[in-house]
Amino acid sequence: MLNMAKAVAFAGGDGVTVEIISPAPQAAVRSLGPGVTLRGVPMSPAGAAYGEGVSWEFVAALESADLIHVHQVFTRMGEAAAIAGRMRGVPVCITDHGGGTRTVGRRLGLVDMVDAAIAYSRCGATALGDSANVTVIEGGVDAEFFHDTSASGVRDRFLFVGRIMPHKGVDLLLRALPDDAPLTVAGTVADATYLELLHELARGHDVSFATNPNDVELRDLYSSAIAIVQPSVHIDVYGRVYQYPELMGLVALEGMACGAPAVVLRTGALPEYVDDGLTGFVVDNEAQLRDRLELLAADPELCAAMGRAARERVLTLWDSRIAGERMLRLYRRLAEN
C-alpha cells in the first residue's frame, strides 16, 4: 500500500497528494516522502484487537479528500471508512488484503456498492467475487530501489522473506531445503510457537534468521539470494485452511526486481507473477520444491539468466511507476465521474 501510495503521488506530481490513515497509539502526522503523509489515528476502544477497533478521527481527515481508497475493507474500520466516504459523496475504492474480520460486507455485496474494487492479482479479483466492478492492478514494486546491489554477483543463499506465521509455509521450505544449501529466513515474528518449530526443523542446516530487516538490508539479502522462495500453503502445518494465502506476493516481486529468480508454490496469486522455467519456478509440492532448489543451487548460470528475466519482467509489468500510473488513471476517472 505504501509503495502504491508513493507511486500514485509520483505519477500525479504536484497535483496529487496521498494521505495514509492508519492506527497509531497517538494522533500524529508525518511525511513519508514527496506527496505522501501518514496520519496516525488512535483506535477506539484503545487496545482493540486487530480489525475490531475504529478510529473516528478519519472523518475529519476525509474533509479534503477527492477520493478514498479503503484497504482492509473487511474490518470494522474498513466498513466505517467506506460508509464515511460514501456519505460524503466522494468516490470510494476498496481493496482486500486478506485477514479481514468481518463478513457482512461480502454478504451484502460491498464490492458492487462502491465505485471500484481493486485487486492486486487475478486471484485477488476472484477473492472479491470476480465482480465486473473489480479492477486488477498488478504489482507495485519499487524497481528503482529494489535492484541488484551485489558487487561480486555472488548468490549463495536461498531466501525467505515474510511474516513468520504458519500459512507462509516456511516449515515446508525447511523440509525441502537441499542438505548443503544455505537459507536465510527474514521477517517479523507473528507466531512464536511456529518460530520454535522452524528452529527445530533448521537443525542440521545452514539456516540464519534475520528479524525485522529494513528495506536496505532486505535489498542486500535479495541481491545475494540464489532465489527468493515463497512457499505459502493452503493448509498449514497445524491443519488450518487458507483459501487465499497470498493475494499478491510482493516479496517475490521485490526479489525478482533484485535479480533473484522466484520459486513459489502454486497457491493464491503467486503463480501469476512467476513464468515457470523462465523467471523462476512454480511448484506443487515439497518434492518439486526440493528438486527446483537443487537445480538452481547447482547451476549459477541458470540462476543468473532467470534473475535477469525476472527483473526485466518486473520492469516491464510490475514496477510501481507503471502500477501507480494505472492506479492514478483509475482514481482520476472515478473522481471525474
Binding site: V54, W56, R76, M87, G89, R102, L108, G109, D112, M113
Partner: protein, 419 residues
C-alpha cells in the same frame, strides 16, 4: 405538488404539538389542492381514526416516550432510533416508488432511524424540507454516548436541504451543539388553525377571580410546579385565582398530588386531553394563559392559541414565542420562578398590570398574521422552491441505499454492543 410527509407520529397518535402541527399543515396543504401522503409509524395505541387512506402507518418506531419503556433503553435501540432502521428505509423506498413525490416534507424523525432516512433522500436526490419545532438535529448530532455520536458526526454534515425552524433560538441551540444546518435555513412561525375566534369584548376586572389556563404536556419542563407554587401563594394571601390545566403527561399524577397537598383542589383543575374546539372555547373563557416553560421552549402552539382567544399569554422571557410576539405589546413575560410569576399574577389581580391592551393587540396580531392560512403561504413557497430545484440523477440505486443502510446498521450494532 405531490408531497410525501414523514413524521414519527401522526394524530391521533401524538406526543405533543409537533405532530398536531404536522397534521394541521398537511390539512392546509390538501385544502390548497396539493396531493399529500403521510408516512408514519405503526399505531401505538390504536385510537379511532388511525386507519386512514391518506396516512400510511407502516414505519417501525423505536420510541422512548412510553412510560413502560423507561429504563429499558439500550445502545442498540438508540441506534435504531437515531441512526438507521433498515425496515424504514425499505418502507420509504416503496412509498417513493408508488407515490413519486415532487418533494418530501419531513417532520420529527426521531425514533425512525432519522439520519439514514435523510441520507437516503439525499442519495436519491429527492428534494426535502425539514420542519423543525424542536431540537431534532441536536438530538441527532450530539446524543453523547460512545460510537453513536460519531456516526451522527459523520452523517449529519452531508445533509443539505431546506430547514424550517419555528424560532431562531432553536437554530442557535442546534448550532451550539455543532448541529449546524446546511442548505436553505429559514424561520417560520407556528400558527393557529381552524375558524378564527371572535374578538374578545369582555376583559378581566381587577379584583375579580383571575381565570388562568394552561394547555400542553403535564410535566416539569413546562413549569407546572412553578405554576402550582405561585397559585398556592396567592391563594394563601386570599387572592381570587383559579387554574384549569388541559393536557396530559407522564407527571400528571405527581402534580395532581402536589395541588392536593397545597390545598388547591378547589382552584386547580386537571382536565386531561381535550379536543381542539373545546380547548379554544375554554381559552376564550380564561383571562391569562400560564406558560412558565423552560427557556429553551422552541415556540409552542399553546400561547398562540391562547392569544388568539384573547387569553393573555404570560410566558417565560426568552422562550421562542417571544421572538414573534412582543413582550408588553402582545403578551407578558416573566422570569421563570415562582416569585416572579406570583408577582406578575398579583399585579394583574390588583389592576396595576392591565390585561386588556395586551390581550387586544395580541389577539389581533395572531388572528391576522399567525393563522395557518397566512403561514402556509411561506411553507408552500419553500416546498415549491425545493420541488422545482433542478435534480441530479439518483446517486445510487435503491438496492444499494438499502445495503449501505444495512451495513451501517450492522456495524453500529457491533460497535454499540460494546458501549
Amino acid at each position: 405538488m405531490r408531497i410525501l410527509t414523514i413524521s414519527n407520529l401522526y394524530p391521533p397518535e401524538r406526543f405533543g404539538g409537533w405532530e398536531l402541527g404536522c397534521k394541521q399543515m398537511v390539512d392546509e396543504l390538501r385544502r390548497r389542492g396539493h396531493d399529500v401522503r403521510v408516512l408514519t409509524s405503526t399505531p401505538r395505541v390504536f385510537e379511532d381514526g388511525a386507519v386512514n387512506g391518506d396516512v400510511v402507518r407502516l414505519m417501525r418506531l423505536e420510541e422512548s416516550w412510553d412510560p413502560a419503556l423507561i429504563g429499558t433503553d439500550t445502545p442498540l435501540r438508540r441506534s435504531r432510533r437515531v441512526l438507521v432502521e433498515p425496515h424504514n428505509i425499505e418502507i420509504l423506498h416503496q412509498q417513493l416508488d408508488t407515490f413519486e413525490p415532487d418533494v418530501v416534507y419531513v417532520w420529527n424523525l426521531l425514533g425512525l432511524g432519522a439520519l439514514a432516512l435523510l441520507l437516503a433522500l439525499r442519495m436519491r436526490r429527492l428534494p426535502w424540507v425539514v420542519h423543525l419545532m424542536d431540537a431534532m438535529p441536536l438530538n441527532l448530532a450530539s446524543v453523547a454516548f460512545g460510537a453513536h455520536v460519531r456516526f451522527a458526526d459523520m452523517l449529519f454534515p452531508v445533509l443539505e436541504g431546506t430547514w424550517i425552524s419555528c424560532s431562531q433560538s432553536l437554530l442557535d441551540e442546534n448550532a451550539a451543539a455543532n448541529a449546524v444546518l446546511r442548505g436553505n435555513v429559514v424561520t417560520v412561525s407556528n400558527w393557529i388553525s381552524g375558524p378564527r375566534p371572535a374578538m374578545r369584548t369582555h376583559w378581566y376586572e381587577p379584583g375579580s377571580t383571575l381565570r388562568c389556563a394552561y394547555s400542553g404536556q403535564i410535566f416539569t419542563p413546562k413549569g407546572i410546579g412553578i405554576m402550582l407554587e405561585s397559585v398556592g401563594t396567592l391563594v394563601a394571601e386570599g387572592l381570587p385565582i383559579e387554574v384549569d390545566l388541559y393536557g396530559d403527561g407522564l407527571e400528571r399524577f405527581q402534580y395532581e398530588s402536589m395541588a392536593l397537598q397545597l390545598g388547591l383542589s378547589d382552584v386547580v383543575r386537571f382536565h386531561g386531553q381535550v379536543g381542539q374546539d373545546a380547548l379554544m372555547s375554554a381559552l376564550a373563557a380564561h383571562d391569562v394563559f400560564l406558560f412558565p416553560t423552560e427557556m429553551r421552549e422552541p415556540f409552542g402552539f399553546a400561547p398562540l392559541e391562547a392569544a388568539a382567544a384573547g387569553c393573555v399569554p404570560l410566558v417565560t422571557g426568552g422562550a421562542g414565542v417571544t421572538e414573534w410576539l412582543v413582550s408588553g405589546v402582545h403578551l407578558l413575560t416573566v422570569r421563570r420562578d415562582a416569585a416572579h410569576l406570583t408577582d406578575a399574577l398579583r399585579r394583574i389581580i390588583d389592576g396595576t398590570l392591565p390585561l386588556e391592551p395586551v390581550g387586544r393587540r395580541g389577539q389581533r396580531v395572531v388572528l391576522d398574521d399567525f393563522h395557518i392560512e397566512v403561514v402556509a403561504d411561506k411553507v408552500e413557497a419553500l416546498l415549491q422552491a425545493e420541488a422545482e430545484r433542478p435534480r441530479d440523477a439518483a446517486e445510487m440505486s435503491w438496492r444499494d441505499i438499502g445495503r449501505w443502510a444495512r451495513l451501517t446498521e450492522l456495524l453500529a450494532d457491533s460497535l454499540l454492543a460494546g458501549d
